[in-house]
Symmetry: C2
Subunit: 104 residues, 2 copies
DNA sequence: TCCTTTTATGAACACCTGTTCACATATTCA
DNA sequence: TGAATATGTGAACAGGTGTTCATAAAAGGA
């Protein structure tokens, strides 16, 4: 496997950029179980609807979340399994690092 | 699965931050097959040894790469499989998105 | 229509980060 | 020891990014 033969490196860096912000991670976290609207997410992550909307725009632009209209509100959900797997392995990496730290 | 019950969200965002820079992705790319020293990496990615060294420090601080001394030079290699898997799924996500774009 | 609720967006500001430059450190060889 | 090669590091600058604020747009109810 080699990155540059598969996809554009800039494109890949922009994809991963989405995961490096705490607010976006918290938003993804609330969406892992079920779809939610902006105001619900806003309450859960404790940030303004405006801020959440900005970040959802980022997440949507890179296909991390998808939307569906529910009357007055808009529901957001995680778009595919890749996202959940990447989050899972990120979490595992950190957990293993902590386990190893015990023996240092 | 829920992020905040598993690990600290800030810690996770800092881990993913490493993947969102083109230079670091290129460095990881050159290290996927085999370990290399700073000057070799520097030539491959086309950046100064100083810049590469700075970024390797980032990668090392979050346990993405490990080092081993070879006389005068220092060899770097990818520390574990998590990193390769995360890269793999990132690449797949982008590839699938492109495939879907064809039908729009 | 008018008001309310929900979501989206542009501008501005503060903060963070990557690169460069200069220099320091370390190791090998003559 | 002295020179050369390899790597590490601190400071500073430029560029990018997230949040806030004000405001707009869209949809439903009275």
């Amino acid at each position: 496997m080699s990155i540059h033969t598969e996809v554009n490196v800039k494109e890949l860096s922009e994809f991963f950029k989405v995961f490096c912000d705490e607010t976006r991670l918290r938003i993804l976290d609330t969406l892992i179980d079920k779809e939610k609207c902006v105001s619900d997410i806003s309450l859960e992550v404790g940030m303004s609807p405006s801020c959440v909307s900005h970040q959802l725009k980022n997440l949507r632009s890179l296909n991390l979340v998808k939307t569906s209209k529910n009357g007055q509100s808009v529901s957001y959900s995680i778009s595919d399994e890749h996202i959940k797997i990447i989050l899972k392995y990120g979490i595992e990496h950190i957990k293993e690092r902590k386990d190893n730290d015990i023996f240092r």
